[in-house]
């Protein structure tokens, strides 16, 4: 049975400057024991999607506009607050980006862990404490019994993230949402923490949603990926399939903007421009302004997610490839994906239609200022 099923989830924020279109109708399924990657730039709606699933959107600004979040068939958006409280921690737990600020500074690890366990299980103080010690040992905290009585500030960043993992897994949730769990950590620690996550979640049979902007992280950890841009899923599919055959210009761009040891001669190709301002209702494909493959149609019609198979130079019959879906009017071919730019003779990206030009210019005042200061020679 599908563990989590998200259907057409749309999230809006009401701010003084207007409505922010944070998430615009995303759908995905998660099977028990599966690890799903959610990849995209900062501000593309990855975290908001998951806060909406947990019903932890900042109130009163954020709200779910439409959609369903089914946990084992039950719509969580219909639960009242006390029912939802039972779900949090017991069924779904979360790990946050910054371990330095996600533990309460005035409570010891003991108090925070025992409190969490006892909020959901009717066990004695000592039973809860034994469980906490056991978990801390399993996440690799040396001298767990003594360190249980330490305060968060007495742990290093990596150790704190281990504590967070122990706390999140203390109730053996069915789903763990890891929101950039390694972004704030040193590279050496990153690998350790990821390995720990992988090992423990497979041991407990926990499903994981791994949010990250780092394709290197999802490559080794996930079975499937959703690539997110400006609140939309632009490409979804099995991890290996997407890495082998990226089919959305944005995914192609992401893959070309990470350095690779085995391809020293390939220059990095950055994705030009900045993500769109989510404060205006999206028209056309959200990636169009930054896309080298864009057609005239891309400015007006936002493409739907559609299966990839058979439409490109390569043919694929495997079941994995059949799940590969992409939202693009003009998909890069395999050769173009490898090169990172369009290779067709005489192809140029379609210029924006006249009425969009004015909009785009007025929507990007910071860039203009930046250019001006460059001209005056104020910057090196």
């Amino acid at each position: 049975m599908t563990l989590l099923s998200v259907r057409d989830l749309a999230v809006r924020f009401q701010t003084r400057e207007g409505t922010v279109y944070a998430v615009n109708g995303v759908s995905f399924d998660l099977e028990p024991g599966e690890t799903l990657g959610l990849v995209g730039e900062s501000g593309c709606g990855k975290s908001v999607t998951n806060l909406a699933i947990m019903r932890l959107l900042p109130k009163p600004a954020g709200r779910v506009e439409s959609g369903q979040v089914l946990l084992e068939g039950e719509d969580m958006l219909g639960l009242d607050e006390s029912e939802m409280r039972q779900v949090r921690g017991r069924d779904i737990a979360m790990i946050f980006q910054d371990p330095m600020t996600s533990l309460n500074p005035v409570l010891t690890i003991d108090e925070q862990m025992v409190e969490t366990i006892r909020a959901h299980r009717s066990v004695t103080q000592d039973e809860a404490r034994n469980r906490a010690v056991d978990l801390l040992g399993r996440v690799g905290i040396p001298r767990a019994e003594a360190r249980l009585h330490d305060y968060p500030h007495q742990f290093s960043g990596g150790m704190r993230q281990r504590v967070m993992i122990a706390m999140a897994l203390s109730l053996e949730p069915k789903l763990l949402i890891a929101d950039e769990p390694t972004t704030a950590l040193d590279v050496t620690i990153q690998a350790q923490v990821l390995e720990l996550l992988r090992q423990l979640t497979s041991e407990f049979g926990t499903s994981v949603i791994l949010i990250t902007h780092d394709l290197g992280v999802v490559a080794g950890m996930t079975q499937r990926i959703n690539v997110m841009y400006a609140g939309y899923f632009v490409e979804t599919g099995p991890t290996a399939e997407i890495f082998a055959h990226p089919t959305h210009p944005y995914t192609v761009g992401l893959l070309h903007s990470i350095p690779r040891l085995d391809a020293e001669d390939d220059p990095l190709i950055p994705i030009e421009g900045v993500p769109p301002d989510l404060r205006s209702e999206p028209i056309g494909c959200p990636f169009a302004p930054r896309c080298a493959w864009r057609l005239e149609r891309c400015w007006d019609v936002n493409p739907e997610l559609e299966p990839v198979d058979g439409s490109r130079g390569w043919t694929s019959t495997s079941a994995a490839a059949a799940e590969h879906r992409v939202a693009c009017h003009n998909r890069p071919t395999a050769e173009e994906a490898a090169a990172g730019r369009p290779l067709r003779d005489g192809f140029t990206a379609a210029p924006p239609p006249q009425q969009r030009v004015a909009q785009l210019v007025s929507g990007a005042p910071e860039r203009e200022e930046e250019l001006v200061s460059f001209d005056e020679g104020e910057r090196p």
């Binding site: 409280r85 949090r88 737990a93 979360m94 309460n104 500074p105 005035v106 409570l107 305060y151």
Partner: protein, 297 residues
């Protein structure tokens, strides 16, 4: 090889925690300046409690022939216009000043704290409504507000305490509300919510302990000002109903007329106020550091 069994003597035991407040208490006892502050406060507390036993004279007992005498062996701090012993009056004055200071700040803390906690917890319209009321209180100068309350309710120590308390309400309400609002979206509060913590637990365990520190520090500072505020009210003729009552502020203001003839009359009550204020400040600072485990030395 003995290397693997490295132990750091005393460290493990010293770190053993027995809860936030007990830990804070233990840290406080190792905080030098806080102990000095505590000693100064205790000095005046003892003076207040033991005044009837240790004071050489009664607070309102004086001979006119002895008036305005400089400090001597018989009258340690000299005598005032009515020949009353200044030292005895300062001892008895500690009773009134400390009582008024502590009670009024405590009342202000409770009232302001309740308003701030309600506003900070519920936010939205409740917050907006309560904060406008607080803004109105804040717009009236403290001493003016106190005068209005004493004028309205009549003279008397309880009225003075209430008046001084009211001047502190906006301070505490704003402070607590601000901290709580900031904490509502703090990472660790969201993390605790994501693990299913209840609303009450979030408030009592995660938000209040983190929000209280600035309030406690402000309260100790307010104690010093409260004693001075009472003095101000006394100067304006709104002090204790019995003008003979020994009270530092009133003593201070009474003596301004003899500044040249008897400067010691302004020196000693002033010194008493300063020492108490410094004591409470030192203690408050130590308390702040003790309550924050990150500042643990």
């Amino acid at each position: 090889m003995t290397a693997p069994s490295i132990s750091i003597p005393g460290r493990v035991e010293a770190r053993h925690s027995r809860g936030l407040w007990r830990d804070a208490g233990r840290r406080l006892l190792h905080h030098g300046p806080a102990l000095v502050g505590l000693a100064l406060i205790s000095l005046f507390l003892l003076a207040a409690v033991l005044a009837p036993l240790i004071a050489p004279f009664g607070p309102i007992e004086g001979k006119l022939v002895d008036r305005l005498q400089p400090p001597t062996g018989g009258h340690l701090f000299g005598t005032d216009l009515q020949g009353r012993d200044e030292f005895s009056r300062i001892l008895f004055g500690a009773q009134v000043s400390l009582q008024v200071g502590v009670v009024s700040v405590f009342m202000g803390l409770v009232m302001g704290g309740l308003i701030g906690a309600t506003a900070g917890t519920f936010g939205g319209r409740v917050d907006a409504a309560l904060m406008r009321v607080v803004d109105v209180l804040l717009a009236i100068p403290g001493i003016l507000l106190a005068i209005a309350i004493v004028a309205w309710l009549g003279r008397g120590l309880p009225q003075i305490m209430l008046a001084v308390a009211m001047t502190n309400v906006p301070l505490f309400a704003r402070l607590l509300r601000g901290s709580l609002l900031a904490l509502r979206e703090a990472d660790f509060v969201v993390a605790a919510r994501s693990l299913g913590a209840s609303r009450l637990r979030l408030l009592m365990r995660h938000m209040l302990p983190n929000a209280l520190t600035p309030v406690i520090v402000a309260a100790t500072l307010a104690l010093a000002t409260a004693i001075i505020d009472v003095a101000g009210l006394g100067f304006l003729g709104l002090g204790p109903p019995d003008p003979r009552t020994a009270e530092w502020g009133t003593m201070l203001t009474d003596s301004t007329r003899f500044l040249r003839a008897a400067p010691y009359l302004i020196f000693f009550p002033g010194l008493a106020i300063v020492i108490t204020a410094v004591g409470f400040n030192l203690f408050g600072d130590g308390l702040r550091e003790s309550l924050d485990p990150r500042l643990k030395r």
